[in-house]
């Protein structure tokens, strides 16, 4: 597939990403107004790993948070999310 290509337009978002987002919501106990993003990035600026998956949580009120998993999005398991999102020393940034 050419760079940037996505599958022919689907009626909705990727079922796999939707499932990951649902898992994030469940693990963090988020309400439906809180936006959750899961995005695999291939950002290759100096100092950045070649591929990473970012989980971002943006509540309607309160600070946004994000976590970075150095795993391809389609390889992320609930255990990965549990380990990263629920860690006491979270690798997260507040905005």
């Amino acid at each position: 597939m050419p760079l940037g290509a996505r599958s022919p337009r689907q009626p909705g978002p990727s079922p796999q990403l939707r499932e990951l987002k649902e898992t994030v919501r469940r693990l963090l106990g988020l309400d439906e107004d809180t936006a959750v993003m899961v995005r695999q990035l291939a950002c290759t600026e100096p100092g950045c790993p070649p591929v990473e998956t970012v989980v971002a949580v943006l509540p309607m009120d309160g600070a946004a948070r994000r976590w970075t998993l150095h795993v391809l999005a389609d390889r992320i398991t609930e255990a990965d999310l549990r380990r990263v999102l629920l860690a006491t020393d979270q690798d997260q940034q507040n905005h």
Binding site: M1, P2, L3, G4, A5, R6, S7, P8, R9, Q10, P11, G12, P13, S14, L17, R18, K21, E32, D33, A35, M37, R39, L41, C43, T44, E45, G47, C48, E52, V54, A56, L58, P59, M60, A64, R66, T68, H95
Partner: protein, 338 residues
């Protein structure tokens, strides 16, 4: 004009309205909110609280730049929009169109990238056009303003990102100035459609639901849109259009494009194109903002239609010769006719 593909696209169109303070954004916005165009429009902007005006829904947003990654420009989105768009889509039945008004000094990149970054947003919303208003009498001084090292000239960026430039307040400028402004706008963004106006009075069909991110639709109206770029030797931000017959070798194209976006993506504001990939029966259509690229296979190449590649880059310090040479090296064939 609506294509068959477009008529199947049930996503909500989103118009982004940019422009410096005093350019007439609010005047145009008020016209859009009060004119009888039959559309129910949800407006996201920075000044009002949430109020209903006729059939419109106006929501307040405070610009919040959210970095998905450590400061990389390619991964910067608007956190406020992600929150509000998510909430809006739960009221999907209340509107037909979304209009986002940015502040005068806003960088359009994070706004546009918001629609590339999240698949849920991309599945429900389609970026229809970026519309930039300029004050004809004063825009040149903004474009000429020398910024400190590392600081962007927002006026240049807003024109570079635009699909439509509304040349407002032409009644306050003489013909020479108007001509000069048009030349400057086209030097930055050669394919942009320029709409002269007074008091922001324009035909709203020129800016709403125009499908400017639908390249097939754009090219149907203006076949030279991607490649009618003049050589500009004195401008920092310019457009480079490439039109090459032949088919592309995907194994050459991907590393070239990947390296280009990796190394020059910060300077490439927008990219768009229709490509002929060797072995693919359909056209490959893509749009990019900085390093983010979104593409899909469009319509079939027609019988007897020449396989050709048309693309344009709009950005800072673009090396036309290097781009042309690099792209030509991705060709698998030259001048092949299907």
């Amino acid at each position: 004009m609506t294509t068959t593909a477009e008529s199947r696209d049930t996503r909500v169109p989103v118009t982004v309205l940019t422009g410096f303070l005093g350019s007439g954004k609010t005047t145009l916005l008020n016209r859009i909110l009060t004119e009888h165009h039959g559309m129910r429009i949800a407006v996201i902007e920075n000044e009002f609280g949430e109020v209903g005006i006729d059939d419109a829904l106006v929501l307040d947003a405070e610009e919040e730049i959210f970095e998905m990654n450590n400061g990389c420009i390619c991964c910067t989105v608007r956190g406020d929009l992600i929150r509000i768009l998510g909430a809006l889509m739960r009221r999907r039945e209340k509107f037909d169109h979304i209009l986002i008004e940015t502040t005068g000094l806003a960088d359009p990149a994070p706004v546009a990238q918001t629609f590339f970054m999240d698949d849920e947003i991309a599945a429900q919303l389609r970026l229809d056009a970026i519309v930039t208003l300029v004050d004809t009498a004063h825009v040149l001084q903004h474009l000429d303003e020398v910024k400190p090292e590392g600081v962007e000239n927002e006026a240049v960026e807003q024109i570079a990102f635009a699909d439509r430039v509304v040349l407002n307040k032409t009644d306050l400028a003489d013909e020479e100035t108007i001509g000069h402004v048009i030349r400057r706008v086209r030097a930055i963004n050669s394919g942009v459609r320029v709409i002269p106006a007074q008091h922001a009075r324009i035909d709203l069909q020129q800016v709403l639901d125009v499908g400017a991110f639908d390249l097939e639709r754009v090219l149907a109206d203006d076949p030279s849109f991607l490649t009618d770029t003049e050589h500009q030797h004195d401008a920092t931000v310019t457009s480079v259009g490439i039109d090459l017959p032949g088919e592309l070798d995907e194994d050459k194209l991907n590393p070239w494009l990947g390296t280009l976006l990796r190394t020059k993506g910060v300077d490439i504001f927008r990219s768009k194109g229709i490509l002929a990939i060797a072995g693919a029966p359909k056209q490959y259509v893509f749009q990019g903002v900085h390093m983010l690229l979104d593409g899909e296979f469009g319509r079939d190449w027609r019988d007897g239609e020449e396989r050709r590649n048309r693309l344009v880059f709009i950005g800072r310090n673009l090396d036309r010769k290097e781009l042309e040479r690099g792209f030509a090296a991705c060709l698998a064939t030259a001048g092949a006719v299907a």
